[in-house]
Structure formats: C-alpha cells, structure tokens
C-alpha cells in the first residue's frame, strides 16, 4: 500500500474530528447551562460539623498555610445522664477558614480526630472581594449539607471504617 503523505493524513484527522463533533456532539460542556458533577472525593470546599468540634487546634497547627483561625472558651455543659456531673466542654467562638490562603491540601480534614471537618465537592463560591473568601463558622456549617457519602472502594481494598 503506498504511503499516504502526512499532509493529507493531517487533513483527515481534522475532518474526522469535525464529523465526530457534528454527529456525536462536542466534548465540552456549556458551563452555566449544564454542570458536570464533580466526583465525591473532590476537594471543593471544607465543611464544618460544629457540634463535633472541640476546638482542639489540631487543624490550625497542621495547616501549612496558617489559614484556619479558631477561638474558643471553656464552658460547663449539663450532664449527659441524669444525675451525672456537669461536664466541661470547649465552646467554639470562632472558626474561620481563609480560602484566599487555603491551598486545598486537605491536611486539616485528615488530622481532625473528631470528624468535624469534611470535604464537599461544591465549587461555586467565588467572590468579587477577596475578603469575602474568609468563611466563618456559619458559612462553613452550611456546606455540611453538600457533603456526600464516601464512595465505595475498588475490589481488593481493605475494609476500613472512616476514622
């Protein structure tokens, strides 16, 4: 078979793509009209489950960017069981994440020993002002609604409870 010159092969490739796009549609997504669902593990935004946070400062200290700020105070809470002693709990006053600094490494979520921080795949939270990227406790708690279940694992994976 005689060799087709590369010049014509190249033309063929573009023509084929043209044909494919016309018949099968484009590979792109028309973003504001249709949205792709990010995978469940996607690191979009960090959500805070406020009730679980004991303000232990572990996330603050392990953040490479120093972008988490926690303030809290100690408080006496009513006893768990009737007749028990009142407990001392840490009350969270402030929990801010500065998304202008955050580099989405996920270390804070990993180190949290009390399951208070979660990744949510939500990504549409850009702001016209950079100061608005500082999400406070209330806003971080709102993201909790968007946190998905952890995905099933591939065959051969060792069953492991979420710590």
């Amino acid at each position: 078979m005689p060799k087709v010159p590369g010049l014509f092969k190249g033309l063929g490739v573009t023509l084929n793509t043209l044909k494919r796009t016309v018949i099968d549609g484009a590979n792109t997504v028309q973003y504001p009209h249709e949205k792709e669902a990010p995978p469940t593990r996607a690191r979009g935004v960090i959500a805070l489950h406020e009730g679980n946070c004991t303000s232990c400062m572990l996330c603050v200290r392990s953040c490479p960017d120093w972008c988490i700020y926690i303030e809290g105070h100690k408080e006496m809470a009513p006893p768990r069981r009737a007749g028990g002693k009142p407990r001392q709990v840490n009350k969270l006053d402030r929990f801010d994440i500065d998304y202008a600094l955050c580099m989405y490494c996920g270390i804070c979520v990993d180190v949290c020993p009390f399951d208070a921080l979660f990744w949510s795949p939500e990504y549409e939270y850009s702001e016209p002002k950079i100061a608005d990227l500082l999400h406070d406790k209330a806003k971080l708690s709102e993201w909790m609604e968007t946190v998905p279940e952890a995905p099933a694992l591939e065959v051969g994976a060792e069953k492991k409870g979420k710590k």
């Binding site: 190249g10 033309l11 793509t17 043209l18 484009a26």
Partner: protein
Amino acid sequence: MIALLAADLPYWAQTLLRILGGLVAVLLPAGTIVYLFLFKMMSFMQSRLGPMEAGPYGSMQLFAEVGKWLQKEDITPARADRVIFKIAPLVVLASTFLLVAVVPFGPDAWFTNFEAGVFYLLAVSSVSVLGILMAGWSSANKYSLLGGLRAAGQLIAYELPMVLAVIGVIIQAGTMNLQGIVVAQNGGEIFGWNGLGNPYILTQFTGFIIFMIAVQAELTQTPFDMPIAESELVSGYMTEYSGFRFLTFFIAEFATAGVFSLIASVLFLGGWGVPFAWFDWKSIDDVSDWMNVVGPLIMFTKMMVLAFVIMWVRFSYPRFREDQLQRFAWKVLIPISLVNIMITAILKVAF
C-alpha cells in the same frame, strides 16, 4: 453594483450603489468566513462548539466582537511613527477593496470590467504588503519589525508563483479580461463535449494547486503564517494594534481570504457561470438576465468551498520556517509553474 440598474441612474447614485455593492462583496464573505469557518468549523475540528451565547448558535458573535473592538482604546505606542501607524491598516483593507473591483459576479454584475483585469488584480494584491510593511516598521516594536519584514519577503516570494500560475489560464483563455475568462470556461468544451464547459481546474490543475498555495501564503495563513506567528512573534506586525485598527486588520485578513477565493473561482472554477450548453447560450450576450441574481450565489458557493479548503489547511498544519518557505517558493513552485506554462503553451499551439 449591477451595471444594468446603474445605467440610467445619475452619477452619484451609481457611485453610491457601487460603494454599497463593494461593501457587501467584501464584508459579506468576510463575515461568513469568520463565523462559519473561524468560529464554528475550527471549533468543531477541535471537538468543541465555539461561541454559543450571542444569538442562536452564537451567530451574533461577530457583531459582539466588532462592538467589543470598537469600544477598546486605540493605543498608539509612544515611539511609533504615528501617521504611518494609523494609515497602515487602512492600506491593507484598501487592497481588498481594490481587488474586488474587477471581480465579475454575473454577466452584467461587475464594478469595472476592463481588458487587463488579471494584470490589475495581481498588481493590487501586493498593495497589502505595503500596508503590512508600514505597520511593522512604524510600530517601533522588534516583533512587529520582524513580522513586517517576514511578510514583505514572503509576499514578494509568492507573488511570482501566483503570477506564473495565472499565466497558464491566460494562455488558455486568450484574454486577460476576467469576464472573458469566465465566458471562455463556461462556453468551452472538453474534446467536443460541452456538458461541463471547460473549467480550467481540469486542464490547469497544477496551476490551480500552485495558485492556492500562493494564496495561502499571500493571506499569511498557516502553514505560511510566519509574519503573524503567535507563538514566535506574538502576532507580528499586528502586535501593537488595538481597538478598531486591529479590527481593520482582522477584517482585511478574512475579506482578502474571501476575495482571493472569489478570484480563484473565477480563474479556475468558471466563476459565476453555468455551462452555457445547458441553456444553449452561445456567447455572453445570450446569457439571461436572471444570471445576475443566480451568478453571485454560484460565486458565493464556490468561494465557500475554496475558503473551506484554505481554512481547513490552516487549522491542520504547523507553520513553516521563513527560509524553508523561501526555498519552497523559489525551488519548487516557480520551476513547476514555469514548466506548466511551457506545457500549456505547447498544447495551445498544438490544438
């Protein structure tokens, strides 16, 4: 535009009509090429949709772009040669209008119709080089200068193969009048069979290929876009232009693509005409008047086919290097076209 209509009108009205006709003949192909090929076909070849927001399927995108460019600040570099810098885009665009002036669109639909049409055509097509050189030199930018000089070298190198390729057509048609060439093709016959007329693409196929390559180079489209060369010279001679001056360059680029496709269709594809044998026309005088309406449409279709090829190549190929281009022009194209002329001449004498 239409000579028939214009015949009994006062001079100013004729002029107005011609100007309007010229604008339509330049801008309509340019707009169509930009939307259909640059926006849509390129996107489709790259598995995407292209502009979709402005108008249905982005059809109004071009107007949006024009609006955007018109709003932009017209920046002149501090050390630029101001007058030349400002004139340059207009010179380039003027070349396009000069080109379209001699293209016949129908038996009576033409702006001017004179005997040395082809000669004039090839002469004014190099006016754009002047504009590009002016733009490159006056911008006071090294990239622009390199781009301008490359453009000058390249356009001059490709003028010659283009001329030589057209000579074959002229020899065959026996006239330099573009209208005459159209008639010669449609009224011609191939070995006594006149069902298709005699479009010169069949007899002058080498010439056609050389002409199209030269057009590609003349238009500075890939693979001959070294004067623009975004990845090397950052748009070359257009680097410093903004706002409506850039728009002028942009329009000129695609309008010239359209006009050259028109010219190629006139020279090689039979122009506006249909084979005369279909309607038993013997000469141009027999051609019905409705051809003045259908003719431009036929021309437009042929132009789109040729522009498609130009753009298709543009979107598929990488770019040559300047010295390779020169070598290609002088060592390949010119000898081939000379041989082509020789063979045509011999055959012309023989038959």
